[in-house]
């Protein structure tokens, strides 16, 4: 017979007993640490309206979401939790005194090529501090992140600190429009982290902005009318925006071009054509922005050297050094939080791939995963997110999240002792069917005493039960046989010392508890 086993979905893992226990213990450790800072738990649905993540996620995330249409509604599996938490805040928590502090843990989904430490379903554990701006809140979040990692026993990790404020200022100064800003911020990751060469990234950004010939790389050779149409905007620009629409309509009528029939009105098309013609060529400005980001990346380093070097660059470009001051102030608070000074790198080219960050951002990297550094968490400040999710007023907010499975891998790589995965305290084994009621009663007494009890429901026999306890490292076995029926005592076997005692129920509980 051909097997009809159903495979698990690629990139999604089962957390089997043992693994599951460890992950839950790790989650509990992290969330417990957040509770110390006054954060309280929140849970949001795995399924969300697609729109929630399209508002500010950027292509990196949008293209990798699990999206589907269910009865004509566009839904997705959440790719991260921050947007969900902020949606819950905007919807239900706005009457709470600020800041609202919440912690969460839950599965998130991204359709990426699976590899070690990168799965399509992974668990994010994190916090959001909603309604507090500035370095004081930034420092709290950063300290909570570092402290939580220390609590898990992880030793080798590094903090990379950045601030979107610097690059945003420069883009503003250069007069690059929002679309362009988004593209540059989205590609900062590629420029800085993955070491892409600027001369590869620049044409890509320009291509996506509709400038240069990058977009034409896979253009179709058979376009004949392409050239004449792309000439139109420049022609129109000579007439100024006043007469342009008129001239355009006239031109179109002469060319006998059908503007109706489609779903846009001729007025819409003409006015956009004119607007497009009026836009200055951004090539030079984008190149300057890219160059600036590359310089920032080169100046990255430990705070004591990086601040001076970056400060000089900001002065040279006449940019406000406030973002640097914010990083400095947040860092200065860390020792008072009792965080054992982790290795810190200040890198203002840090972009984080998500579009919603506005201020201080940071990433946590573990040193020891397979000899290469692995990002285990990250976060930052996103002061505009509430407004873009429909909040009437802007609410400053910051937060971060860990990748739970990544932390586990990092702990494994450091050879740290696994916690959470432990055997049950005792096996209770009835011998005959008649022994079941007293055996169940004893198991219940032990459970009421807070012990983990495994009842033998297969009636394996004494020897098999002892062998089982030995293999599973269960310290005690209680054998319930004829004697229990006669004098109310059962046989307790201590698996370590191999000694046996006949004890009544109270004595059994006491013995197993002390031996635990």
């Amino acid at each position: 017979m051909e097997t009809l086993d159903v495979q698990r979905v690629r990139g999604m893992n089962d957390a089997l007993p043992g693994e599951d226990a460890r992950l839950r213990a790790l989650t509990a450790t992290l969330r417990d640490h957040f509770e110390r800072f006054g954060y309280r738990g929140i849970d949001t649905p795995v399924l969300e309206n697609l729109d929630l993540f399209l508002r500010k996620s950027g292509e990196e995330v949008a293209a990798r979401m699990y999206t589907f249409t269910h009865w004509n509604r566009k839904l997705c599996l959440r790719p991260e939790l921050t947007a969900s938490v902020m949606r819950a805040y905007v919807g239900n928590l706005r009457d709470r005194p600020l800041p609202v502090r919440v912690h969460y843990a839950g599965p998130t989904f991204r359709y990426e090529k699976p590899q070690r430490g990168r799965y399509r379903q992974f668990t994010q554990v994190g916090i959001e501090c909603i309604g507090a701006g500035g370095p004081s809140a930034d420092a709290e979040v950063l300290a909570a992140a570092c402290g939580a990692l220390e609590r898990t026993g992880l030793v080798g990790f590094r903090v990379v600190l950045g601030h979107l404020g610097v690059v945003l200022q420069l883009l503003e100064q250069l007069g690059i429009d929002e679309h362009g800003q988004n593209l540059i911020l989205g590609n900062m990751e590629a420029l800085a982290r993955r070491g892409a060469a600027p001369d590869e990234v620049l044409p890509r950004i320009l291509g996506l902005m509709g400038v240069g010939n990058a977009a034409d790389l896979n253009a179709d050779t058979e376009h004949d009318d392409e050239d004449s149409i792309s000439l139109l905007p420049s022609l129109l620009s000579e007439f100024g925006s006043e007469g342009a629409a008129h001239v355009a309509s006239d031109l179109l009528a002469r060319a006998n071009l059908m503007l109706e029939g489609g779903t846009r009105t001729p007025e819409e098309i003409v006015s956009r054509l004119v607007a497009k013609a009026g836009r200055p060529d951004p090539t030079d400005r984008v190149a300057r922005a890219v160059d600036f980001i590359v310089q920032l990346q080169r100046l990255a380093g430990p705070p004591e050297v990086a601040f001076g070097r970056i400060g000089a660059l900001l002065a040279e470009h006449e940019l406000d050094p406030a973002p640097l001051r914010e990083i400095e102030r947040a860092l200065a608070l860390l020792p008072s939080y009792g965080v054992n000074q982790p290795e810190v790198v200040v890198d203002l080219s840090l972009g984080r791939g998500l579009r919603y960050y506005t201020g201080l951002v940071f990433e946590l990297h573990a040193d020891a995963v397979g000899g290469v550094s692995s990002q285990i968490g990250g976060g930052g400040r996103y002061d505009d997110l509430v407004r873009s999710l429909g909040g009437r007023e802007g609410v400053p907010a910051c937060g971060f999240s860990f990748g739970l499975e990544r932390i586990k891998l990092a702990l494994d790589a450091e050879g740290s002792e696994p916690t959470g995965d432990r055997a049950v305290d005792v096996v209770v084994a009835p011998i005959d069917e008649d022994d079941e009621p007293p055996a169940v009663a004893i198991a219940t007494r032990l459970r009421q005493a807070g012990l983990d009890v495994e009842l033998d429901v297969r009636r394996r026999g004494v020897r098999a039960n002892l062998r089982h306890a030995d293999r599973e490292r269960v310290p005690y076995v209680v054998i319930v046989g004829e004697r229990e029926r006669v004098d109310g005592r059962a046989l307790l076997r201590d698996m370590a010392s191999r000694s046996e005692q006949a004890l009544d129920a109270d004595a059994l509980v006491a013995a197993v508890r002390t031996g635990r």
Partner: protein, 361 residues
């Protein structure tokens, strides 16, 4: 399977007796519409002429390949049949494979481009959108639509590739209008704003007053050969037939890049002629020329030799000139039917695919 197999094979035997065909070792699905004639021509060229007693029948055989049964299916069904394993081998469009493939469907790509049925999946907009020349413009328009509270509607038969393409190009707000009818009419009928469709000559687009965009090509496609992984892995008999198919296809396709040239050259000895020919690199051939003696007809001249070389098609005229310089008077050119190499590379690639199972980590 064991419980069912005897029954199934008996059914096959019965069917075989009725139709006069032996139980097929391998089933091959060919496209029944659109690409049908081109596929039959292609297979015939490769030496695998399909024999079909009646053009209305959807079953046929390939006499040159014993044990092969041919089924005619629609291109999308060819893929589905190969994926589910009811057919072992199939020819379909590369665009169809890209749209319908799943990571775990066990469909192997045996030959990605068979050199015919070329087309492209493209994003097209109404010609009247004169402000739109690239995908970037469409992204801006989708954002503009969004501000006015509606989504860009995209009509297509390829929702998966379309969705991925739009997201990759920063177009986040859109609605896919799945349509099997005349897509090209959707914008004019106000059923969609833009379309994503297959284009081969571009005439249909133009007739419907639609235009392609710079950066708007999603997939370039040709006919391709696919196979079922499990079937080819578990049956040496099937794999052997696939080897023959790949050998013929690969050698035929390669042969199109070459011509065989024969020129008569006068000389003192075969070696002397060979030296004259090989002194021109254009006609050195793949290894070197073959020189054979021409036996003169009665009263004819002695000392003529025929030099035969195989050259790349694109170098044909240069090679002719070189042969002339080497002393050839007249040169005959023949196309090759096959060009085999020491190995069938696509079969080697298939063997590698069969041995490494995709893993998660």
């Amino acid at each position: 399977m064991t419980a069912i197999a005897p029954l199934a094979s008996r059914r096959n035997q019965l069917r075989a007796r009725r139709s006069g065909v032996n139980t097929p070792t391998l089933r091959m699905a060919l496209p029944s519409k659109g690409m049908e004639q081109q596929t039959l021509d292609f297979l015939a060229l490769c030496g695998m002429k399909v024999s079909r007693p009646n053009p209305r029948q959807y079953r046929a055989t390939i006499p040159a390949l014993a044990g092969v049964e041919v089924l005619f299916q629609r291109v999308t069904d060819v893929f589905a049949k190969v994926a589910e394993g009811s057919v072992d081998l199939g020819i379909t469009g590369y665009d169809v494979v890209r749209e319908h493939q799943r990571e775990d469907d066990g469909v192997l790509m045996l030959e990605k481009a068979l050199g015919y049925a070329g087309c492209a999946l493209v994003l097209a907009v109404p010609e009247g959108w004169i402000d739109v020349s690239s995908v970037i413009d469409v992204a801006e328009i989708s954002a503009e639509f969004r501000r006015r509270g509606r989504d860009l509607r995209v009509a297509t038969k390829y929702p998966n590739l379309t969705r991925q393409f739009l997201f990759d190009n920063g177009i986040n707000y859109f609605t896919i209008v799945e349509s099997d009818g005349a897509l090209e009419a959707a914008p004019a009928l106000n059923a969609a704003d833009v379309i994503v469709d297959i284009v081969s000559s571009g005439v249909t687009l133009r007739e419907n007053r639609l235009k392609r965009l710079s950066g708007g090509t999603i997939v370039e496609s040709e006919a391709c050969l696919i196979g079922n992984r499990t079937a080819l892995r578990d049956s040496p008999e099937k794999l052997e037939i696939v080897r023959q198919v790949l050998e013929l296809i690969e050698a035929q396709m390669r042969s199109r890049e070459y011509f065989s040239l024969t020129g008569n050259i006068r000389g003192d000895s075969p070696e002397a002629v060979a030296r004259r020919v090989t002194s021109h690199t254009e006609v050195a051939g793949l290894r070197g020329p073959t020189i054979s003696r021409v036996y003169p007809k009665l009263g004819g001249e002695e000392g003529w030799y025929a030099a035969t070389v195989v050259v790349q098609s694109k170098l044909l005229l240069q090679a002719i000139d070189a042969l002339r310089r080497a002393g050839a008077g007249d040169v005959s050119v023949a196309p090759l039917r096959y060009m085999f190499q020491s190995k069938c590379w696509s079969f080697e690639a298939l063997r590698r695919q069969l041995s490494d199972r995709g893993t998660d980590e």
